[in-house]
């Protein structure tokens, strides 16, 4: 089945076209096509996963077709199926399937229902293409396509200007990063002797065959793309605004799948990053630093949000920071495992928030409250998701976050261990705050909230169940074959292992659990018992200043808009405009004017005077000649006689003198 893994991206791609073509006329308005295709992809993915996991010593399956080849450059498409790919395939297809089913309820009656499902299919196809890619070009294609789909889906309700603005912001910000990605791919292509192949790149990097400088440049450029797509500081600003899109979109794209594309890129090309940033050495490196900063600043921002989706968005940014940081400290398996678990509980939390929004018709937590009475299923599943995110034993997040902290500590990155720990505290705290505001106390809204329909409830329940169970494969508690690090490994054929595995350590686990519990306790105390920090900003001016900074998101958006965009917009754009109007248009207009003048000249002089003159002249000559000659036909005999006599006299004279 792994050999047929190329079907996995193909089915949603076909479904995209089918939905566009005939979707509107179908009874389910195209949704059934999408669900069917996704179900098929999911089945094949699971089958491939089973095949991989149950194989004793599995070898990566590679299939490749060449599109064209010029000189030393070969461009083609292919699949590279190994543990990492199989894991991603299962996650992506499953979450996408859940979101598809959920959307039939959530998006019911929407103005562009069919189009939505078409875009979902296209997105899934693109993400899967990215996942199975065996060369950086194909990865780039998938990467760009998911960016496009994200833009389309964020701006799904583009009639409202904030939505289209958010879509543009997302697209431009990730595009900024994508410049780096493209340059990085090109750099590595040339550095690796004109090869796009990922396995080849990893091998050459790890064996030291790529120059240090070039390798570092390539890795940094790639990382720029990662920063854009996976919302790392400072290119994280688009993700909270992307919440303007429909909640299923947020769940699929901005929680579980698209944003992890950057993490996936680093994980795939880990040989390049490992070598370039000397991750083995410990201390500090760019990847870890950026990841660490992201963890903390995003968690801080989650404390001051009123919009439930924004809380979850910042939470996602923070967790992505965890993944990137983990990769930066050499904890590859931990990062990938956290990606895996995070997908489930973050999707759960988003779909749960969708259920809440659907019920109270508002995103704001200030209009919620006391909803545990009205929406029990949503309450329970949301709680499970929050606990999983906070890292409470035995839920999924506990195992994965713990592994990250373990890796940071044991690989020689003590600073990042503490960063992770603080982050865990903050995560637990802000999720408690969110749960308190939503489910506890009295209902502050105006409507009549009720539980959501089954099409929305069932995915929540499924995901909640999985959030409980899925973490257990981390330490291998569900069997050695299922142990995550057993079947998901970073391997480059012919190269020694780079990733160090650390076994589960009880002290570290206990420590992170304790911190999480303290976080919950602290937040609970603040909110339930009105402890000292409650409403601190109102009493303490320093705290108020801090809160203002947080509310303004560290003024980053203002910096980007005024600093970067306005600088480009006004002077550069004006310069470009001037150049366009004066130089380019001048040339073009000049050419046009010149042509016109030539045309005028041709018309006036050549056509009118010369040619028409010649023609008219010929006519006039003929006419004048006729007028003149007409006089010989005067009808007067004596003139004829004169001519006769004259001519004969002349002839006679001529004859006489000639002979």
């Amino acid at each position: 089945m792994m050999r047929n893994a190329w079907l996995i991206p193909l089915l949603p791609a076909v479904s995209f076209f089918v939905i566009l073509a005939v979707g509107k006329r179908l009874p389910g308005k195209g949704a059934e096509v999408g669900i069917l295709a996704l179900a098929g992809s999911f089945v094949i993915s699971v089958a491939s996963a089973v095949q991989w996991i149950t194989a004793g010593e599995p070898e990566a399956v590679e299939r490749h077709t060449t599109w064209w080849q010029v000189g030393g450059v070969e461009v083609g498409a292919g699949i590279h199926i190994d543990g990492l790919a199989v894991m991603m395939l299962v996650v992506v297809t499953f979450i996408s399937l859940m979101v598809h089913v959920y959307s039939t309820g959530y998006m019911h009656g929407d103005r562009r229902y069919t189009y939505f499902f078409a875009a979902l299919s296209l997105f899934t196809a693109a993400m899967l293409t990215l996942v199975v890619a065996d060369n950086t070009l194909q990865l780039l294609v998938g990467w760009e396509l998911v960016g496009l789909c994200s833009f389309m889906l964020i701006g799904h309700w583009w009639e409202e200007v904030p939505n289209s603005s958010a879509a543009i912001k997302a697209f431009i910000t990730t595009r900024t990063g994508d410049v780096g990605l493209l340059l990085g791919i090109i750099t590595l292509f040339f550095a690796a002797g004109q090869s796009f192949d990922i396995v080849n790149l990893n091998r050459l990097a790890l064996e030291g065959e790529i120059g240090r400088g070039v390798l570092l440049a390539g890795a940094v450029l790639l990382f720029l793309g990662v920063m854009g797509k996976s919302a790392q500081f400072p290119l994280h600003v688009w993700l909270p605004d992307a919440m303007a899109g429909p909640t299923p979109v947020s769940a699929l794209i901005h929680a579980a799948t698209m944003v992890v594309a950057g993490v996936y890129l680093v994980a795939r090309l880990y040989g390049v990053f490992f070598e370039a940033f000397s991750i083995e050495a410990g201390g500090f490196n760019l990847v870890a630093v950026i990841g660490g900063i992201t963890v903390l600043i995003a968690a801080a921002l989650a404390f001051v949000q009123d919009d439930i989706k924004k809380v979850l968005a910042y939470s996602t940014v923070s967790q992505l920071g965890y993944m990137v940081m983990a990769l930066g400290v050499g904890a590859w398996t931990a990062a990938v495992f956290h990606l895996f678990t995070h997908a489930f509980f973050k999707a759960l939390l988003f779909l749960g928030s969708g259920s809440l929004i659907h019920a109270v018709h508002s995103n704001n937590m200030s209009e919620m409250g006391g909803l545990r009475r009205f929406m029990p299923t949503t309450y329970r599943t949301f709680l499970v998701g929050s606990l999983a995110l906070a890292g409470i034993f035995p839920l999924a997040g506990f195992w994965s976050k713990d592994e990250i902290l373990l890796g940071a500590a044991l690989n020689g990155y003590p600073v990042f261990f503490w960063v992770g720990l603080v982050g865990a505290f903050m995560t637990a705290a802000y999720m408690t705050r969110a749960c308190y505001l939503i489910f506890a106390g009295e209902y502050r809204g105006h409507g009549h909230p009720h539980e959501s329909p089954a099409s929305m409830r069932v995915p929540l329940q499924l995901l909640a169940g999985l959030s409980i169970v899925v973490g257990l494969i981390g330490p291998g508690l569900l069997g050695e074959t299922l142990k995550f690090s057993h079947w998901v490994t970073f391997e480059v054929p012919g190269v020694e292992e780079v990733v160090e595995e650390h076994d589960f350590s009880v002290p570290y686990a206990a420590g992170s659990l304790a911190v999480a519990l303290i976080g919950i306790g602290a937040a609970a105390g603040v909110y339930f018992r009105n402890l000292w920090p409650r409403d601190l900003a109102r009493r303490n001016p320093l705290a108020a200043r801090a809160k203002t900074i947080l509310v303004h998101k560290y003024y980053l958006d203002d910096l980007f808009v005024h600093g970067v965009i306005r600088t480009i917009q006004y002077p550069l754009a004006r310069a470009a405009y001037w150049f366009n109007q004066r130089v380019l248009d001048g040339v073009v207009n000049g050419a046009g004017q010149g042509a016109r003048r030539v045309g005028r000249f041709t018309y006036d002089v050549i056509d009118q005077r010369v040619i028409d003159g010649a023609v008219n002249g010929a006519g006039a000559t003929a006419e004048e000649g006729g007028v003149i000659l007409r006089h010989t036909q005067s009808g007067r005999v004596q003139q004829y006689a004169a001519a006769l006599f004259g001519a004969s006299a002349i002839l006679a004279l001529a004859l006489v003198f000639v002979t």
């Binding site: 004596q638 004169a642 004259g646 006299a649 002349i650």
Partner: protein
């Protein structure tokens, strides 16, 4: 010889002068009279050329009939009798040139051909010989000429009839 030359030249001058006046006078009747003078002068020349019969026929027919006929024509067409302007049309210059050309051509040919040829008269010619020639050798042209005269008369009458 001298007498003939004197006669010739006096007649010639008179003829040329009259001919010139014929073509330039503005009086139609005077033109007819000048024509008569020319014709008379010609008759005189004929006599000098020992062609007496032709000379008298000339006087009889030309002066006696043709000029009278022309005068009749003048009268019948109410041609202005007396001086009247505009008897010349506006191509006088061209006509003069053409006339000069003709004169030039003829003159050149004649001078070239008969530069100094003398006119010598042999034996005396008698009118009887003319009659012999006409009714002998050239009787057919004579008959034809009479038919032609008949035709002319008939034609003229037919044309000029008032009906």
């Amino acid at each position: 010889m001298i007498a003939q030359n004197v006669a010739f030249w006096s007649l010639a001058v008179a003829m040329v002068a009259a001919a010139y006046r014929l073509v330039t006078t503005q009086n139609v009747v005077r033109a007819a009279l000048f024509l008569a003078v020319v014709l008379a002068g010609t008759a005189g020349q004929y006599v000098l050329l020992t062609a007496e019969f032709v000379a008298w026929v000339q006087v009889l027919v030309y002066i006696g009939a043709v000029v009278v006929l022309l005068l009749f024509g003048v009268m019948l067409t109410r041609a202005p009798i007396g001086a009247a302007s505009g008897l010349d049309n506006d191509q006088r210059a061209v006509a003069a040139i053409v006339a000069l050309l003709v004169l030039g051509a003829l003159g050149a040919v004649l001078l070239d051909a008969f530069g100094d040829t003398e006119l010598v008269f042999g034996e005396v010619r008698r009118s009887a010989e003319v009659a012999d020639a006409i009714f002998g050798q050239y009787v057919v042209p004579f008959e034809v000429a009479s038919v032609l005269l008949l035709a002319a008369v008939v034609g003229a009458v037919a044309m000029a009839r008032r009906d």
